[in-house]
């Protein structure tokens, strides 16, 4: 057993890492799954809400107000609040994580669509685009860089928040962090933290790459 004061012990016990490779892979999948489902679901809901907002603008303040309120609830509290209803399950984690993405995603999607220059819309109208074609061929592609920027923030935030779901028995890499803290076994803690950061960075870079491919006309705003 290592101890806090056991300075002689190495910070990382590589043999632990080797022995627990299977578990690390499992937790990687868990982390990716929770992040992917939450951001994906968040995106779907946000797109739906955005379409609503674009038609009924008066609803926008209430929607940002509500999602903003969700965003301020401490994650630990939100998980605890949901457990009586949905138990120690993926569902609990996903409901909470998804609700955190909404605030970021809706604001970015709406800002992206709003940011399409008036003259571009007028020119598209003048060329003979129908309203629907203008939306899908002009407004959506032009909003894409801002939408993807929102997805980057939402994803990186979610990767961080997934670790907190360790308190309800999930957590992805958060599992290692929590157990490391409880047992004072630094190798686990460090593995959990470093892998979380690495995962967030990889996903962020991936989004930048996707943006460059989808919007070659725009400079990636890194």
């Amino acid at each position: 057993m290592n101890s806090v004061l056991g300075q002689s012990a190495p910070l990382i016990d590589w043999s632990w890492v080797e022995r627990n490779m299977d578990q690390i892979v499992d937790r990687t999948w868990e982390h990716l799954k929770l992040t992917g489902i939450s951001v994906g679901l968040g995106l779907l809901i946000s797109v739906g809400l955005t379409i609503f907002v674009l038609r009924w603008r008066w609803a926008y303040p209430s929607i940002t107000g509500f999602t903003g309120l969700l965003y301020t609830i401490p994650s630990l509290a939100l998980f605890a609040l949901l457990v009586p209803f949905t138990g120690l399950s993926d569902t609990t984690a996903i409901i909470a994580l998804t609700s955190y993405t909404l605030f970021i995603l809706i604001r970015n999607i709406v800002a992206g669509i709003d940011g399409v220059p008036e003259e571009v819309k007028e020119a598209a109208d003048g060329m003979g685009y129908t309203r629907r074609a203008r939306f899908w061929k002009m407004e959506v592609p032009l909003a894409l860089p801002v939408i993807i920027a929102g997805m980057r923030i939402a994803t990186v935030t979610t990767v961080g928040l997934v670790t907190v779901t360790a308190v309800i028995g999930l957590g992805g890499y958060g599992f290692f962090i929590l157990r490391g803290l409880n047992t004072f076994f630094w190798t686990q803690l460090i593995v959990g933290v470093v892998l979380s950061v690495v995962l967030a960075t990889i996903l962020d870079v991936l989004f930048i790459a996707v943006q460059r491919v989808l919007s070659p006309w725009a400079k990636a705003n890194t």
């Binding site: 220059p117 008036e118 109208d125 060329m127």
Partner: protein, 362 residues
């Protein structure tokens, strides 16, 4: 070609209509400039023709067809549209931008490619630009693409809303001249909004001068408007230098040129002396047949006449297609108080202030 009958635009809540029962006829191949102070409804009028702004009253016919009788998007595909802010699609290459309307009309790819390549040349840009994005082009280049995009499906009608307003004056001058040359070739029916009376005069075959509320104060050719403004409003709007502006419309070929003190290079000294004293001057122009060689000073003449004397070039030399305004400038700026007119190397005559003044008073 375009007929506006009692067209009105009344915005809800506004005390007075933006455009009030305006009637205007634009003939096929005409270049009509709509001009007036801000708030006169010129842009509103233009945008009602392709229904970017829906009229609240009256009727608009294009080539005999009621514009309000078809879906707006269909109407717009047959009308070229250029706006001041250009509005190129930033996410599409120049080629894709130009191909917008042909694409909407469902042309096949090879026809679109051929048309795009042709148009980039028509507006004076390099073929290499086709693969670039709008942000990589200068403002002037972008507006050329804007014009190419409007012309893509060869629409009979072009609507232009201050298309050269956003570029600097030098580029604007270039674009205006180029566009006029292009228009002479294409013969489109053009409706062109500008707040710049000089631009309106330079480009328009007819000018519609609008007053607040879309009231048509005068609708006529630039010449008539400048020489016979319908009322005080038009006179005020034309501003000062009306005579000068009119000169800007008249080609030198319309003036009665004077033959000038000229002598053939084979002429004798006596003959040269006689012409100079008849005109009371100390110089003489030298011709070789019809070709203008230049002029020589009295002191440069030698005993045998002009032989061996190198004539000096005239400071002000103009083509008969230049305007009288340019001629006036050349005469005033030049030292000799005259300008020679040469067409393709052939001497046509010369003009001085008196010749120009006669045209002003005419």
């Amino acid at each position: 070609m375009i007929r506006l009958e009692e067209v009105s635009k009344h915005y809800p809540g506004a005390a007075t209509p933006a455009v009030d029962r305006l009637s205007l006829d634009v003939g096929r191949g005409e270049f009509v400039t709509l001009v007036g102070p801000s708030g006169c409804g010129k842009t509103t009028t233009l945008k009602m023709i392709n229904r970017i702004i829906e009229p609240t009253g009256g009727s608009i016919q294009i080539d005999g067809v009621e514009a309000l009788s078809m879906p707006a998007y269909e109407l717009r595909r047959s009308i070229g549209y250029v706006i001041q802010q250009i509005g190129l699609f930033p996410h599409r290459t120049i080629a894709q931008n130009i191909a917008t309307v042909p694409g909407l009309l469902g042309w096949d790819q090879s026809r679109i490619r051929a048309r795009t390549a042709q148009l980039i040349d028509v507006v004076g840009l390099e073929t290499e630009m086709l693969d670039r994005y709008p942000a990589e082009l200068s403002g002037g280049q972008q507006q050329r693409v804007g014009v190419a995009r409007a012309l893509a499906a060869d629409p009979p009608v072009l609507l232009m809303d201050e298309p050269f307003g956003a570029v600097d004056p030098i580029v604007r001058g270039h674009l205006q001249r180029e566009f006029l040359t292009l228009q002479h070739k294409l013969g489109k029916t053009v409706v062109f909004v500008t707040h710049d009376i000089d631009e309106a005069i330079f480009l328009g075959t007819r000018i519609a001068i609008l007053n607040t509320g879309g009231i048509l104060e005068q609708y006529d050719t630039p010449e008539v408007i400048l020489s016979e403004p319908a009322n005080e409003f038009v006179e005020d709007f034309l501003g000062g230098e009306r005579g000068l502006k009119r000169l800007g419309l008249l080609p030198i070929s319309s003036a009665d040129l004077i033959p000038g003190p000229m002598i053939d290079r084979s002429g004798s000294r006596e003959e040269a002396e006689r012409i100079m004293s008849d005109n009371g001057i100390d110089w003489i122009g030298v011709l070789d047949g019809k070709r203008l060689l230049g002029w020589v000073d009295r002191v440069d003449l030698n005993a045998s006449g002009l032989e061996g004397v190198e004539p000096r070039p005239f400071a002000a030399s103009l083509s008969p297609r230049s305007t009288l305004r340019e001629a006036l400038d050349a005469v005033v700026t030049g030292h000799a108080r005259i300008a020679v007119v040469v067409d393709d190397g052939e001497y046509q005559g010369m003009l001085d202030l008196e010749v120009i003044a006669e045209e002003i008073t005419e």
